[in-house]
């Protein structure tokens, strides 16, 4: 009897500990059974919570700071600053990512009002997603007090993104983070393809877009780590029209690894080739998918 009692006590304590520390519990105020995240074991080893390898995705800020140098003109109609409600945790996470990319975009073009409105929208979706704790008072005040300063707007946008990622990692929101990264990635591709508008041969910015194939591979590997969750499986399937364009892009050897001035290591590699038809297909696929979740309210 005592043994049975002990076993029960141990099992329930272990479960409690796993729920408290190991995984994701309540993701959304309005979750459907398919949205229920999977509870994971505590104490994962290495960098990921799903095994010995983990994948990272560059922040949208990284892409837009590089794009800024290309001098593409800002386009007002690409991003919305209107607030919307999303019911499923999948749409909330995708749109959370979408808005982080929008802020990176508007901040890189020094658009104060748009950046501020979208920061408020991000907070609202964060509340719905159950991650309002990422917006603490210090961060909110810092954003509000510096939004009119052109020099610091981009820095604030980048540091806010870093802080959000750190807080989500601290709270072990792995699969939510993977979907957020996907939303941010899709929005970045949508904005970039629409900013470019028309394909031109040998354009550095088209080359930059084609290079996003490598990021796409990491996005897919990142999502695969959580593919047992239905909402992640859905995102992977919805992403297919975009990923199939990227994954089919041809590559050719561009440069070798070598030593540069001062013995500096230079890593060469392949150049990804994007044709006009592939550009147009990517533009259409990213616009369609982006609109499908941005307008899902």
């Amino acid at each position: 009897m005592k043994k049975r009692y002990l076993k029960l006590l141990f099992a329930s304590s272990l479960t409690l500990l796993m729920v408290a520390c190991g995984g994701e519990t309540e993701e959304s105020k309005d979750t459907t059974p398919q949205d229920q995240p999977v509870i994971r074991d505590a104490a994962p080893m290495g960098f990921g919570d799903q095994g010995s390898s983990t994948y990272t995705v560059p922040s949208p800020n990284e892409l837009f700071s590089i794009i800024k140098e290309s001098k593409l003109p800002y386009s007002e109609n690409l991003v919305s600053t209107e607030s919307a409600m999303y019911t499923s945790s999948k749409d909330q996470a995708l749109n959370f990512g979408r808005i982080t990319a929008d802020i990176a975009y508007t901040a890189s073009y020094e658009k104060f009002n748009e950046s501020m409105s979208n920061f408020e929208n991000l907070r609202k979706i964060g509340d719905d997603l159950g991650i309002s704790y990422v917006f603490d008072e210090i961060m909110v005040n810092r954003v509000k007090n510096n939004m009119n300063n052109a020099d610091s707007l981009e820095v604030i946008s980048t540091s806010s993104y870093q802080r959000i990622i750190s807080m989500l990692e601290e709270n072990e929101k792995g699969s939510t983070l993977a979907i957020i990264a996907t939303g941010g990635y899709v929005e970045s591709i949508y904005i970039l393809t629409n900013l470019i508008g028309t394909y031109s041969n040998n354009s550095p910015v088209i080359q930059r877009l084609a290079d996003e194939k490598i990021v796409m591979e990491n996005v897919l590997d990142y999502l695969k780590m959580y593919e047992e969750e239905d909402r992640v499986k859905e995102v992977m399937s919805e992403l297919d029209p975009i990923s199939s364009v990227f994954l089919n892009l041809r590559e050719e050897k561009a440069s070798e690894n070598r030593k540069g001035e001062g013995n500096k290591v230079i890593l060469g590699g392949d150049r990804v080739i994007m044709t006009e038809a592939e550009f147009n297909a990517l533009k259409e696929a990213s616009t369609n998918y982006r609109n499908s979740f941005a307008n899902a309210s």
């Binding site: 002990l6 505590a42 080893m45 960098f47 010995s52 800020n61 561009a254």
Partner: protein, 181 residues
């Protein structure tokens, strides 16, 4: 007597689990607290930086994307309580070619007289990305490899909290400086 044994047993189980969990959470953002990074003031923190919890002998990969036209600096840091240095490789994510191995690179680093060469492995690597690349940072913690069958999907079933420690990977980047006029 039996009750006392049970109480001691339960306390031990809980202490072990709580220690394990608190170490896991302490490792988050370890790189921000402990890794020094580059001296170059133009280098900026990259959000692909990450920390993890390691057990002696454990190997883990961090796969990140390096953009063309950027310089990168990768710096590692580890808990002080681990005396031996980390083994660290930078691997091409596509070809699996080892681009940097700190054990080989250590041969190029002058060793102080009387110092243990094992403790002088370089823990940073700087490179210029000429093309956008998938880069694997492969970290092996010092010590014997985990026993076969003791690992399940990257998680050891019963790690001793004493053997656990944090490892941080700080990634920094900046636009590659243009040379000449």
């Amino acid at each position: 007597m039996k009750g006392m044994i049970i109480r001691i047993g339960l306390t031990a189980v809980f202490s072990g689990l709580i220690a394990l969990t608190s170490i896991a959470q302490d490792c988050n953002n370890f790189h921000k607290r402990k890794c020094y990074g580059s001296d170059n003031p133009y280098m900026r923190y990259n959000t692909q930086s990450k920390s993890g919890m390691f057990v002696l002998g454990h190997t883990s990969d961090l796969v990140f994307v390096a953009h063309a036209g950027q310089d990168y600096n990768i710096s590692l840091c580890q808990d002080k309580k681990v005396d031996e240095p980390l083994k660290f490789q930078v691997v091409d994510g596509r070809s699996q070619e080892v681009l940097f191995d700190n054990q080989n690179a250590a041969l190029d680093v002058p060793v102080d007289e009387g110092a243990d060469p094992e403790n002088t492995l370089p823990l940073s690597f700087e490179f210029t990305a000429d093309a956008t690349k998938k880069i694997i940072i492969r970290i092996t913690a010092p010590g014997p490899p985990p026993e076969e069958g003791s690992e399940k999907k990257g998680k050891r079933e019963e790690p001793n909290p004493e053997d656990l420690f944090c490892v941080g990977v700080l990634v920094e980047n900046m636009p590659t400086p243009k040379l000449g006029f």
